[in-house]
Amino acid sequence: MTTALSHYLNIVRDNLRLDPLSETAVINELETHIEDELQELKEAGLSEEEAANTCVRLLGSAKLVARQIYEAHSQGTWRQALLASMPHLLFGLTFALNWWRGISWLLVMLVLILSTVVYGWWRGKPTWLFPWLGYSLLPVVVAGLLLLYLPRGWSWLAILLYIPLALWLLYSIAVQAIKRDWLYGSLMLFPVPIIIGWFIAVRLEGKFPGFSIERLHDFTLWIGLSFLVLAVAVAAFIRLRKRQLRVAILIISGLLTLTLVAGYAWSQLGLLTFLVLILLMLSIFLIPALLEPKIRHSGQHS
């Protein structure tokens, strides 16, 4: 195949952002089309190069073709939408209904999250997996906090080992998500500023895990409500076809939820923290988008 046609198919592949199986099937189908077209054009008397250029012109914009095929495949079913919004719903209910006080419920949540992530990973990383993947990192955060309670010398040693390991784990998971589509990296990470916002707002007294939980009671309903907003946003994300609308729904709902957190806990957060959280939210969309081309191309070369 000529350089022009290989280049054309590479642009389609880079912009498809489908699961690897569907991506290969689409590219194979376009290749067979090109094969037929080239044969016919050459039989009509065109040179190899003329035939390739005519073929590219007849196919039309590679980006447009990729975008339209993405839109044909992107819409998930209502069941997938429910599945994707489930971790946010469960997290919200855990606070709204005060289930967070029962260790057995927290263990059930942990097992459910980890088993769903393993199942989704095994099924080829469907879109509904990514919100679960974000929550699967929570045990890593909790483990880090628990390390602070080891005897002094051990605590430092454990933390020195823990930080690179935790960062490596976060990086590996984020790279896997971004490699598929940077938007899935954002989908995975977008509750992070909300969780940090509530964590700062609650201002737990004392040291983990023995801190006073009384202050948390004032916030539980609002925490529940904020995660309900995220659940609705994720369900809408799954049902939408157009990529721009998907980006918009995540950014708008993220900013709306941060405003809700700040509105309820303005005295605890203040303007500076609110602005930092907004910047963090925007960087969760910007950084994966900037990293995606590099990650994809390094993956193709290795």
């Binding site: 689409v26 067979t32 089309h33 037929d36 077209e37």
Partner: protein
């Protein structure tokens, strides 16, 4: 020309379903058939055929299967499904009603 393109765009699904109902086909054949049978009236921008086919497949109206041609080359053939057949019956009836109504108005009245 732009008007014609809009007409094709608005009815691409029905056109593709009609062709595939008559005979399972792969992408390149579909374009050639459409162009040939309509005597050049219907011309698809070739790249946009595949998104249209994938939309129909995702909606469960057609199904694509890889098959090998006698020459040994694999091609993705599209077959109409039961759901596709049922939709096509409705679409045909709608088109007939539309054409009848259009003819009643557009044809010059006889003296």
């Amino acid at each position: 020309m732009a008007q014609r393109r809009e007409l094709v765009k608005g009815n691409a699904g029905s056109l593709l379903l009609c062709l595939i109902e008559q005979q399972p086909m792969y992408g390149y054949r579909i374009i050639k058939e459409l162009e040939g049978r309509s005597q050049g009236y219907f011309k698809f921008k070739e790249g946009t055929l595949y998104p249209a086919l994938h939309r129909l497949e995702k909606a469960g109206l057609i199904v694509g299967k890889w098959q090998t041609l006698p020459s040994g080359r694999p091609r993705r053939y599209y077959y109409i499904t039961g759901k596709g057949h049922r939709l096509l019956v409705v679409k045909r009836s709608q088109w007939q009603d539309f054409l009848t109504a259009m003819n009643l108005i557009i044809q010059p009245a006889s003296a």
